[in-house]
């Protein structure tokens, strides 16, 4: 009798799982586990909220992870002063709506000094407005863990990144000091001054992200949807051109149907030509994308690679 019930349950479990347990459920559940481990192991974690699609998924997962409780950590947005205005509007509306605590941090000194990629070069500009600002914010608020939306698939140097990634007291990443990560045992053991970057979306691909956004109907910044926008063509990349301060001499803006695959700063974010105006169309387009999304980020090109950025404390 008892055996019969046991068997029935096993069979039931098996059939239910094979039907409903999609790769998205598996990824979701892993990410929720990681977010909970972060809160369990750290004194003062923060979620780095960049307003992009990966951040949106991250916040969505965090709300699921701690339901019915509130988010147990604040969201930190490092604002370079060059973010799209649609991003800032979305940020303020969304965080208010979900009742999250939002911290906006800016490197005011560099912004006042007029830091701009066309003046400083992309690498130095990022170094001041993003990396330095982030490290300063972590220090100011004494955060010991910073949760980010980076994915291993995004870029070659991220393929070996840990889920719990150790940074020294200067925020720097040393490949030789990263701990082995086995099973789902993530070690948050750190010394005074060290911090951990946590990457709950490590195993997600861009395609997974869009499929999940569709499945869960997660709100994202309208810039991800295709629309006719004013752009200039620079080195094969489409750069937003609604503000002339970001243009080089002689560049003439044109109107093109485009959308953004990643969102960064206005002068450094390239658009892609697209007619995808719904989430489903975007997901569809991503499924067959031939170019990696990072290629539209100027920061990853040139001599100063993502690897250097990471060593210096960037994400």
């Amino acid at each position: 009798m008892v055996v019969g019930i046991e068997l029935e349950r096993v069979w039931l479990a098996f059939t239910t799982m094979t039907h409903d347990w999609t790769h998205l459920r598996e990824l979701e559940s892993e990410s929720i586990y990681i977010l909970r481990e972060t809160v369990a192991q750290f004194r003062n974690p923060v979620l780095l909220y960049s307003v992009g699609k990966d951040s949106s998924v991250l916040v969505h997962l965090a709300r699921k992870a701690f339901y019915p409780g509130p988010l147990p950590f604040p969201l930190l947005h490092v604002d370079t002063g060059y973010k799209f205005k649609e991003m800032l509007e979305f940020r303020d509306r969304f965080t208010k709506q979900i009742g999250a605590r939002l911290i906006v941090h800016r490197n005011e000194d560099s912004i006042a000094a007029g830091a701009h990629p066309l003046k400083l070069g992309v690498a130095r500009c990022c170094g001041q407005l993003k990396t330095a600002a982030l490290l300063h914010a972590l220090d100011k608020y004494q955060f010991d863990a910073a949760i980010g939306g980076a994915r291993r698939e995004e870029e070659r140097s991220r393929a070996k990144e840990r889920v719990f990634s150790l940074r020294d007291a200067f925020g720097q990443w040393d490949p030789r000091r990263q701990r082995p990560e086995l099973w789902s045992l993530y070690s948050g053991a750190i010394h005074e001054g060290e911090t951990i970057r946590v990457f709950p979306l490590s195993n997600w691909t861009e395609r997974d992200i869009w499929q999940y956004i569709v499945q869960e109907n997660i709100p994202v910044v309208p810039l991800y949807y295709a629309q006719e926008r004013l752009v200039v063509r620079r080195n094969g990349t489409l750069i937003p051109a609604d503000d002339s301060m970001h243009l080089k001499d002689g560049e003439v803006p044109e109107k093109v149907w485009v959308r953004y695959r990643t969102l960064g700063c206005v002068p450094c974010t390239g658009a892609v030509e697209s007619r995808a105006t719904t989430l489903e169309e975007i997901a569809e387009e991503t499924g067959v994308a031939k170019i990696s999304e990072r290629s539209t980020r100027i920061i990853d090109h040139g001599a100063n690679t993502m690897e250097d950025k990471k060593r210096e404390g960037y994400f």
Binding site: R9, V10, A13, F14, T16, M17, T18, W21, T22, H23, R25, E26, L27, E28, S29, I32, Y33, R36, E37, V39, A40, R63, K64, A65, F66, Y67, P68, G69, P70, R152, E153, R156, S157, A159, K160, P175, Q178, R179, P180, E181, L182, W183, S184, L185, S187, A189, I190, H191, S202, N203, T205, R207, V288, A289, K290, I291, S292, S295, T305, E307
Partner: protein, 416 residues
């Protein structure tokens, strides 16, 4: 149930063609993008090569690219309409043990590469042995560089039989063999006219179809508590107290009797809470919040488990340990042990033997372990550990050892 995601590891000797194979899989399933492929092409041309060198696609950090070798586990992703694949790619050089232990710990299948010219060599055996030790029970033996042995069937069969003879000794493993040329593309994602004698599935078909039949949900219910949920009172949840975690194994239904360990308190499941709505039942791998009938003192590190067949509660156990640190193991030294969601103080008080991974012989007496040593040890913990043997349950049988520098120095599997 994991049929929609396959996590696998790759192992092979330096130059057996692992990078070439993975590069080809990524390119031919569109797991690599055109600009990345272009980058690999340019890099190859800069070095005086021609066309695309698939192996350059998967090289990671600059330091290792410059050295031409890989130094750690890299994770790669691709998908076909049938499955999502997560590759944990472990390098083949002499530091392989700790890398392979790491990559195998999260994998359900191992692809072992063999150079058809060399056949089964010591390293092939080591790789299979370590993967097996970490609980992998599905192996694809990819016999590569068939182009260099004129695609000869006899050579393939000779190597296959060699490997089968060896793996038989490990027991309980399902083995699939396939002859390929990673460089020329035979039988990776495309069929091969040059190996028409091979009628089995090509490599990608194997990856898409092998049922790793994750036993995890058929095992007894185990739920390591990650956190206690005590949200501020709301209309819907005036006085909520729940236990957050991910089901490590088995399944649970509302109304089930459970026991909380190590306290051994008994109670009943009253609810399975998720933001998507309450559930009647939850299964292995699902992240949920459980509510209990009684107000018990339950916290992080406790294990909620089914009443019959509960896990063991131990302060002393035996384990197979892989030493990963450059600093050697000290007997009776204070370490920290992390197991499920529990962290305890521990000492390693005895080494039974060290395994020679080449000969599989047990070496003793031994008083220390160095980097990449594997062997059997006895461990004592200050607080109890709630566990199952690793051979039964991979989620509740594995642990790591952390030293006073906060470094993870070893990984172990409990043998009890």
């Amino acid at each position: 149930m994991s049929s929609n995601v396959l996590r696998f590891t790759t192992a092979g000797n330096v130059d057996d063609g692992k990078s070439t194979l993975i590069g080809r899989l990524l390119v031919e399933t569109q797991g690599a993008f055109e600009d990345q492929i272009e980058g690999a092409k340019r890099e190859n041309e800069r070095r005086g090569g021609k066309g695309i060198d698939f192996s350059l696609l998967t090289d990671g950090l600059r330091a290792e690219r410059e050295q031409g070798i890989t130094i750690d586990v890299a994770y790669r992703y691709f998908a076909t309409p049938k499955r999502k694949f997560i590759i944990a790619d472990a390098p083949g050089h002499e530091q392989y043990t700790r890398n392979l232990v790491t990559s195998a710990s999260t994998s359900d299948l191992a692809v072992i590469l063999i150079d058809a010219r060399n056949g089964v060599v010591t390293q092939s055996r080591r790789h299979a042995f370590i993967a097996h030790l970490l609980g992998i029970r599905h192996f694809i033996v990819a016999i590569n560089k068939m182009d260099l042995v004129d695609y000869r069937r006899e050579r393939y069969e000779e190597i296959r039989n060699d490997f089968m003879n060896f793996i038989d000794r490990l027991g309980g493993a399902a083995i699939y063999c396939v002859p390929i040329s990673a460089l020329e593309g035979d039988l990776v994602t495309e069929r091969s006219a040059r190996m028409a004698w091979y009628t089995g599935p090509k490599l990608l078909e194997l990856l898409e179809s092998i049922e790793v039949d994750d036993q995890q949900h058929k095992l007894h219910f185990r739920f390591p508590v990650q956190l206690v949920s005590r949200p501020p009172a709301s209309a819907e949840f005036p006085d909520f107290r729940g236990y957050m975690g991910r089901v490590a194994s088995g399944s649970i239904r509302v109304g089930d009797h459970v026991v909380v360990l190590p306290s051994r308190a008994r109670t009943t499941i009253t609810g399975i809470v998720t933001q998507d709505g309450p559930l009647q039942e939850a299964f292995a791998r699902q992240a949920v919040t459980l509510t209990l009938a009684d107000d018990l003192d339950v916290g992080r590190g406790d294990m909620i488990s089914c009443e019959p067949q509960p896990p063991q509660v131990r302060t002393e156990f035996e384990a197979t340990l892989c030493w990963m640190s450059e600093r050697k193991l000290h007997l009776n030294h204070r370490y920290v042990l992390r197991h499920t969601t529990k962290t305890v103080r521990a000492i390693i008080n005895e080494i039974d033997y060290r395994l020679n991974v080449n000969t599989l012989e047990r070496e003793s007496p031994v008083t220390e372990f160095q980097t990449n040593d594997i062997g059997q040890v006895r461990i004592k913990t200050l607080q109890p550990v709630v566990c199952d043997p690793y051979s039964v349950n991979r989620q509740t049988g594995g642990f790591i050892i952390i030293d006073e520098n906060d470094d993870t120095v070893a990984a172990g599997t409990i043998t009890l």
